[in-house]
Amino acid sequence: MSWTFKSDQPIYSQIVERIQIRIVKGTYPPGSRLPSVRELALEAGVNPNTVQRAYADLEQNGFLRTERTNGKFVTDDHDMLRRLRMELSRGYIEELFEKMTGLGFTRQEIIEAIEAQRGENE
């Protein structure tokens, strides 16, 4: 059904992130055509204007391009896509550090905790 959204962020920015994840994962491969605004709006259960805004934001940052009559396409610039992947991972790691620091962990302890858990999982 519809996507769920966090309550403290604008909806459009959360849609931007979802699309970025799909691009990095390859759900939307490089150079492929994205769903139309209307299709994605129905899938997400959001207003089409919100999807439009998300697409505009992604285009401005160079992740998408518009072909006049054909719609929106994922960039096939691989440097750009690598940068996007790093940018997303940096965001997640920052979030992890922020939460762990909130629990009173030091930098060193965080890295040790990650190592320890990785050992458990393997």
């Binding site: 909806i11 209307r38 259960g45 204007n49 919100t50």
Partner: protein, 234 residues
């Protein structure tokens, strides 16, 4: 062109002011939430737009015209209670809509009704409450209107029916038209809205884009509403 405009609009019932000097402009291509607790003036505003009420002072214009015969051609209205003859079945209701409204898209209505899987010969009075609500919404949204006024379209139906109704609203969205949805079930409509209007005791407390409300307040529209309309002091 502004789809709806209120200038110093006041509506009094005796000494009670249901709407008090309201100024409001709605543009086309937007989905707007008219939000407020019970008795805040939501239904009064919608009834004024349909000329079921006349202003005490000020004016309300639809595409630059006063509500009347001409505006009814471009406004599609879903009242907050059942307004259709209960003895009619789907087919008869479609005929009635075709007769009444030039902008009624029969094809679209038939397709949407088919997805409900209801017997075309079943009279409305035998349908469940949820099915009735869905059917009324389908008929309302099958008109190619400039302004849709939906008064409490999701009140009193289960969450799955709510999803169906919101999906129907979104899939019929048209850039030329605007949709005004009155409700107090904010969490349910939040993601489909462009703009929100907070109405309190006949006054507009807030009118802004939903994403900028979330950005400024740092909380969801639903939480912000609960803060603005808190019923107790702490």
């Amino acid at each position: 062109m502004n789809v709806l405009e209120c200038r110093n609009l006041t509506k009094s019932y005796g000494s009670t002011k249901a709407l008090d000097n309201v100024n409001l402009t709605l543009e086309s291509g937007r989905i707007i939430g008219l939000l407020g607790p019970n008795g805040s003036g939501k239904t009064t505003l919608i009834k004024l737009a349909n000329r079921m009420l006349v202003p005490t002072e000020g004016e309300l214009l639809i595409c630059g015209q006063k509500p009347g015969v001409e505006t009814k051609k471009i406004v599609s209205y879903l009242p907050d209670r059942n307004f259709l003859p209960e003895w009619m079945n789907c087919k008869e209701l479609i005929w009635m809509y075709e007769d009444f409204y030039k902008d009624f898209d029969t094809q679209r209505a038939v397709e949407m009704i088919r997805s409900l899987n209801i017997d075309h010969k079943m009279p409305m009075k035998k349908m469940s409450k949820g099915t009735k609500e869905k059917l009324q919404l389908i008929l309302t949204m099958s008109r190619r209107a400039k302004l849709y006024l939906l008064d409490e379209p999701i009140a009193g139906v289960d969450p799955a029916a709510r999803d169906y109704i919101l999906h129907t609203i979104l899939s019929n969205y048209d850039e030329e038209a605007s949709i005004l949805i009155s409700t107090h079930l904010i969490a349910d409509v939040e993601s489909v809205l462009d703009e929100a209007i907070f109405l309190k005791e006949g006054h507009i407390m807030l009118h802004d884009n939903v994403d900028s409300i979330r950005e400024k307040s740092g909380v969801s529209l639903d939480e912000h509403f609960r803060e603005v309309f808190r019923c107790w002091e702490n």
